[in-house]
Symmetry: C2
Subunit: 254 residues, 2 copies
């Protein structure tokens, strides 16, 4: 049984806690947060603490805190007799260099408080300071996911950036779709099969092969017609830039 | 049995042909294209013609041709003893006004030649010149899909525009994710669970509620870090504009 202390009580911490809670190979022996009210939800299920000096002895300390807090917390901690890892996609392993044993445990998934995540499918990107610690982190990751990858700090930076495009920016496209539908009283639900199929397509086709639409067809008549329907500057700017980008990218390819 | 003639042999025509071929309530009695070589794939399964003067008598004539060709073909046709419909999201019903009976049969889905489409889930947006013809088109649509909606020409224009955002532009975000991963030899597959979950999320949450990422958190440190990883101008421009747009949209909301 791998003993884990989680530092943090936000989205990532909560989803990891729930995933480990159902795992048979890992156990959360403690959750830390500096605010006692944030610990209430966890107190029924495990030990909790508001003091960094009272952390229990564990195999892995998971710092699941906001990016800019990781460094501060690391500075306040004594070296620990276990592997100290953070869960951030955009922070390097170096921020933990004061610890003799360190690593990164980055679950590449989008977390919302109100929606459960199927961790089995969520890729977990691992990095460790030593081969032995990598093996331990791998066991821990495989106890909740079947997609575990070794990813360097440099690769992780790119992956995190790519994730912003394929998830955060994609969701903003959904927001704009919703906004456009709302204006004409069209229910957003009509778009959901299209959204699903667009996501599914890239499991069998390369994204560049899956591109469709007026931009890649250079169908200027439709592009002009769309432009006349667009109701605000924000939408117009985005429509123009992405149409240009699609044409540049695929022009380059031909 | 509703008798259908399809005019066109492109992506939409082919996918509709296959869907109707498996339906028990409709039969494709003929496929038209002006180029004989495009008809070869259909000739084994139904009657074909290269002449607009030799169209068979049918209940519905489905013009599944490029947007700018619909009007030309309509001009060449005599009035037909059946409902003449087109399948375009961006063309109004008016383009068919010379026909006594007319309509629109717009399947809101993304079609690629090389990937089969599950039509059952694809919404079909219908418009008709009369109540009676609407009923016939509804029967026809329901023979291949369980998501059939009455949508006016004006609504369809907005829907088609919204579809560009949630499908074509979304796919371009996938293209950029792939491009970023490739530079660091990270397999694009790692992003697929995230892509799927991002699409799934908006079946239970409103897109505006599902937004995550550094832009909405106003996490300028991560935004700056991403910017230093971006390798080309196209990516930088898009990153900047979408980050600004997310902050404007959600600033407005608060």
């Amino acid at each position: 049984m791998i003993k884990v202390v989680i530092l943090g009580t936000g989205n990532v911490a909560t989803h990891l806690f729930n995933a480990f809670f159902n795992s048979e190979k890992a156990v959360i022996i403690q959750v830390y947060n500096h605010q006692p009210e944030n610990l209430k939800a966890f107190a029924e299920k495990t030990s909790t603490t508001t003091s960094l000096n009272s952390l229990k002895k564990a195999d892995v300390y998971l710092i699941a805190l906001k990016d800019d807090v990781i460094e501060k917390i690391a500075a306040q901690l004594q070296d620990l007799d276990g592997i100290v890892v953070h869960t951030s996609g955009s922070v390097g392993i170096d921020v933990l260099k004061k610890f003799n044993r360190r690593g990164v445990f980055y679950p590449l998934q989008t977390f919302s408080k109100s929606k459960e995540v199927n961790f089995e499918e969520a890729p977990i990107c691992l990095e460790a300071g030593s081969e032995t610690d990598f093996v331990t982190l791998k066991k821990l990751a495989e106890s909740i996911s079947k997609n575990v990858f070794p990813i360097s700090s440099e690769q992780r930076k790119s992956l995190h950036l790519a994730a912003v495009f394929v998830s955060n920016f994609v969701n903003h496209m959904y927001v704009m779709g919703e906004e456009i539908c709302k204006e004409k009283m069209v229910p957003f639900e009509i778009l959901q099969p299209l959204i699903k199929e667009t996501a599914n397509k890239v499991t069998t086709l390369k994204p560049s092969e899956a591109q469709t639409g007026p931009a890649i067809r250079k169908d200027q008549k439709t592009i002009d017609a769309h432009f006349s329907v667009l109701e605000n500057e924000r939408q117009k700017e985005i429509y123009t830039l992405l149409t240009k980008s699609i044409q540049q990218f695929h022009g380059k390819e031909l």
